[in-house]
């Protein structure tokens, strides 16, 4: 038998998972005046450069470590933030498997996972609320990261709190980062079409209302 396979009627195109050269980004108006360099402005990405970087921590059971992505010489600071106002760092975060969870805060001490009822915020001392909003390794695997951060100069510290669950003595937590460095050039008068095409980057406050 001879079989001629028919031509597919459509194909699925998977878009790139990171910002590419030529892409447009627009910073919404809810960015505060301290970020006037980007607030309510539209930029074209002129250059990108993907930088992989692995972080690793061995944490005993029931204990945690804060990973502060901002720049500085503090024990927990990892210096991932950009230093130039025309830089945008798009950071993908993935985890190798393990017996741990992560909680996220921005700025320090303010969880992104707080609910509206009183006391419904992540609490590592509480056997139930430690799971509120907690991201597991499988939520963003090392080889297929699904957590993304958009970092600009002088953004408030973004904190990832890693804690080892009960059942093991210690856990080694390996966090794979891909830092997509983007060099931006402002578009002084973006057209309506530019604004429609641009990826909107909102200030973190929109996560809490």
């Amino acid at each position: 038998m001879l079989e001629l396979q028919s031509k597919p009627q459509f194909s699925v195109v998977v878009p790139p998972r990171t910002l590419q050269e030529g892409y447009l980004v627009h910073f919404s108006e809810d960015w505060p005046s301290t970020h006037n360099a980007v607030r309510a402005k539209t930029f074209r990405i002129d250059v990108t450069n993907q930088v992989p970087y692995d972080l690793s921590y061995i944490i005993p059971t029931g204990d945690y470590r804060d990973v502060d992505f901002s720049n500085g010489s503090g024990t927990f600071q990892e210096n991932i933030y950009p230093e130039n106002v025309n830089s945008l760092f798009e950071v993908l975060v993935g985890f190798k498997p393990g017996n741990f969870l992560s909680q996220w805060y921005i700025p320090a001490g303010k969880s992104i996972s707080q609910l509206e009822y009183a006391q419904m915020y992540p609490d590592l001392d509480d056997d139930e609320k430690k799971y509120l909003g907690a991201r597991q390794p499988k939520d963003s695997p090392y080889d297929d990261p699904r957590i993304k951060m958009y970092l600009v100069k002088d953004l408030s510290p973004l904190i990832m709190r890693l804690f080892t669950l009960e059942g093991v003595d210690y856990e080694k937590i390996v966090v794979g980062l891909t830092i997509n460095k983007c060099k931006m050039r402002e578009i002084e008068a973006p057209s309506q079409d530019d604004l429609l095409k641009a990826k909107v980057i909102r200030y973190y406050d929109y996560l809490r209302w």
């Binding site: 921590y57 061995i58 005993p60 204990d63 945690y64 927990f76 003595d169 210690y170 080694k172």
Partner: protein, 115 residues
Amino acid sequence: MPSEVVAAVLEADAAVIAAERRNAVVLAKSITIDNLNGGGNRVIQIQDVFTPSVTEGVAAPVETEVDRWKYTALAGDQITLGEDELKGVKCLGAMKVYSDVADASCFISVGYELE
């Protein structure tokens, strides 16, 4: 799969099978204990050696040793264990091997992978 052959040594001189790698754990995949010419029964252990990170609870962590696996090899015997028997034997830091008695005639071969 890399592997290493070492003679049975005491814990103080524990033989390094795989050094610690920052972004990986060491998984034991196979082990052969050749005690055919050994001087007696030997208790062989795999030890995990690492220094934990600074955490909320521990500001100044120190080097830590955790025994991950233990087996008594009888004198005049040789055993080989594979991946199934060693499932779950994972070292977060360096993987070391030692014996309860130093014995230059007892050999331990460990196959491992970094993951």
